[in-house]
């Protein structure tokens, strides 16, 4: 359990600094099971900050959303930092962005929280359908204590956790300025069970599966917007000249979009599962991301979001990279 008082104190202290613009963290949601992102611009705002297994968002998207409007004459650029509350997986997104030089290290204050697993909003909504009020969830070792309308139920974590938490290798932030509480130990290991099982299918079975999935896509780009690593100024699907991917919603363009999105995250995706969480059509985007993650681990011994000093995967090479496919 995270000491929320400690968190609030840290947020208060951080926002009181002159060189911090705002701190982004979590507050209680207005209804249902989700906590929402919230912002502290002044020390009083820190009071609403919470941390619970309902804090699913990856808040590292926010520093990337900062607008930099053109300056008026004599105006100084705003060089203040942004404070971000991060869990283990979230922190890897910052590391990856730093590696790509999308952000400078001194532009963020990272408030790290060792995390023992969050709740998958879709799973808990399925368990308590239509529920909208007064929900509390606490972390109790291998169970979540879910309090709905004053009644508490203990539910095994595995039933409610998203896939990423079940195999989380980095529960502690890999990079932080301030750590709330103590680091936790975890023996979880990513074994790519699901990827391996899917690989066994035949080509036809695989395409039949994905055809159905890609057909569902409505091209809302929620997956892109929720992803901390999708911060291109102009996304390739928005480009008009040349227009590689058309805007029409059909199997052809949807497939191109989904394949290219997955490819653009190759060696960059840190597996925070925000894309899949955000997708309104329930397309299993992590199945693509995880496959790539597994392959690059095998082929290039590379893992995204671990070291900010390493070079980006696709911007470097080794002379002896695999090339058995080359004629």
């Amino acid at each position: 359990m995270v000491d929320e008082k400690e968190l609030r104190d840290v947020v208060k202290k951080t926002i009181s600094r002159d060189d911090v613009k705002y701190v982004v963290g979590y507050e209680k949601g207005t209804y249902g099971f989700q906590a929402t992102p919230c912002f502290a611009y002044k020390p009083e705002d820190a009071e609403k900050f919470i941390f619970s297994p309902l804090c699913v968002h990856n808040l590292t998207v926010f520093p990337m959303l900062e607008e930099k409007p053109p300056l008026r004459k004599g105006e100084e650029p705003d060089t203040r930092k942004i404070g971000v509350v991060v869990k283990g997986c979230d922190s890897r997104a910052i590391v990856q962005i730093l590696q790509e030089k999308g952000l400078e290290r001194d532009k963020v204050v990272i408030i790290g929280i060792p995390c023992s697993g969050v709740i998958d909003p879709k799973k808990i909504e399925a368990k308590f359908p239509g529920h909208i009020k007064k929900v509390e969830v606490n972390d109790e070792d291998d169970k979540f204590a879910v309090t709905v309308d004053g009644k508490t139920q203990k539910i095994p974590k595995d039933e409610l956790m998203p896939e990423k938490c079940k195999t989380c290798e980095y529960p502690n932030p890999v990079l932080y300025d301030i750590l709330i509480g103590k680091e936790i130990k975890s023996k979880k290991k990513e074994d790519y069970k699901k990827v391996n099982a899917f690989e066994k299918k035949s080509m036809k079975e695989k395409w039949d599966y994905w055809e159905k999935q890609f057909e569902k896509c409505i091209r809302c780009y929620a997956c892109r917007n929720a992803c901390p690593l999708c911060y291109c100024k102009e996304c390739m699907v928005d480009q008009l000249n040349p227009q590689w991917v058309r805007r029409s919603v059909n199997l052809s363009e949807n497939t191109a979009w989904n394949l290219l999105r997955a490819f653009h995250l190759a060696g960059r995706c840190i597996g925070c599962e925000q894309c899949e969480r955000a997708c309104p059509m329930g397309i299993p985007l992590m199945k693509l991301n995880k496959k790539i993650e597994k392959e690059i681990k095998e082929m290039f011994e590379y893992e995204a979001g671990i070291s900010a000093e390493e070079k980006p995967l696709l911007a470097m090479f080794k002379p002896d990279d695999p090339e058995e496919f080359i004629l």
Partner: protein, 142 residues
């Protein structure tokens, strides 16, 4: 009568090696299948996977990327970078049920007219076996 399937293959050939290799095959009058439509790029490292996906959308049954042999790249590292990219792309295609053999890569130097012809033959035959690419062809209905 059903027409025999003739694969439509797009070749992205690098200016310095593979394209020159293709040229040599031509000037040496070496026969190779006419299924390959060559597009000259300055370097195999220029080939963005978006080109490959786009080609497959627009009716290509296969794509061949040709670059210089490792170490010979005119820009020193372009072909190495392309190799990594295509390795990942092929794995992704395979996972979605699109035969990765539709996307091929080769090293052909400017002196290897023969090799170029052999590669085009092999790729054409392989893709002929795979049949037309129908997974996500773009429909041009206006």
């Amino acid at each position: 009568m059903k027409e025999k399937f003739e694969p439509n293959i797009i070749g992205f050939l690098c200016n310095w090696c593979s394209y020159a290799g293709a040229d040599l095959a031509g000037t040496s009058r070496i026969q190779y299948p006419p299924n390959l439509k060559a597009i000259r790029v300055m370097c195999s490292g220029r080939v963005n996977p978006i080109f490959v996906i786009n080609a497959l959308q627009q009716g290509a049954d296969g794509v061949l990327i040709g670059g210089c042999h490792p170490g010979d790249c005119h820009y020193e590292r372009g072909n190495y970078l392309a190799r990594r990219r295509m390795a990942v792309l092929k794995k992704l295609l395979e996972h979605t049920g699109i035969d990765p053999n539709r996307v091929r890569m080769t090293w052909v130097s400017a002196a290897e007219g023969n090799k170029f012809a052999e590669v085009v033959k092999e790729v054409t035959e392989d893709i002929r076996k795979l049949g037309p690419m129908q997974h996500f062809k773009r429909e041009n209905k206006w």
